[in-house]
Symmetry: C2
Subunit: 163 residues, 2 copies
Amino acid sequence: MDREEGEAFQDRYPEDVAHCYGCGRLNPHGHHVKTRWEGEETVTRFTPEPHYTAIPGYVYGGLIASLVDCHGTGTAAAVAARAEGPGAGGRDRPGELPRFVTASLHVDYLRPTPLGPELEVRGRATEVTARKVVVEARVLANGQVTARGVVVAVRMPEGMTAR
Amino acid sequence: MDREEGEAFQDRYPEDVAHCYGCGRLNPHGHHVKTRWEGEETVTRFTPEPHYTAIPGYVYGGLIASLVDCHGTGTAAAVAARAEGPGAGGRDRPGELPRFVTASLHVDYLRPTPLGPELEVRGRATEVTARKVVVEARVLANGQVTARGVVVAVRMPEGMTAR
């Protein structure tokens, strides 16, 4: 298992942009979404707590949107880093990933997602340019696809942090 | 101010479907999103807690998606009830609303949403059929539109609750 397979993308964000409620390792209140390579796909696994309910028995759609979102920006970062090679993009430390933000998010809820089992978000980049990565993802519960998502992720604008 | 103007849509959902993490009055952990009529538009106001951060200083996109989502299903319920008139749709109590669920959610993040001020989600139904309501919404911070969303809401399938 190489470095990419093992360490979550979100754990490789620079410290000053690692506070996202969905996936930032430095946000003590957040979901701590973690996405990793599995072959050519990226995978996020997450087990919602019981209070993340929609209609009783099913997962809250806003949480599903959040998982797709952070899966998408994380995948975009990993794909961009792979395309550019080590040290590209002004990153400071070995393995550090560029930070992407969400330009648009689309989720189709195909069927209710049962609340209880671990969820899996699986995806891949379908379009990659210097500035933008499009990620398509599907959400599975008990091996069945319950939702599909598309994230258009763009490189974080320079002005967004004090870096 | 008539009943519709005053009471939040989400507070008029039947008890067995009022547990949504985003907007259910019976979910003690949730956001308790509240949507009301203001003239021909529906409005949700929400001030995110400081930990709902994306990049520091800005609101987490997953929370914005959640606000748009619950604003959309709430608006769909209110619009359907208005179209059908009192007592239609098998509702048990006066003022009770039919429950809609999300078939699809789309959010365009136009610019970073500042974390701190109260957010406003304003929207209206753009398509209404017996089964489906399409709601278009915009998210404002300090009076500036930061995101736009579209929710396709459909009547909750019969089989989703034990009712």
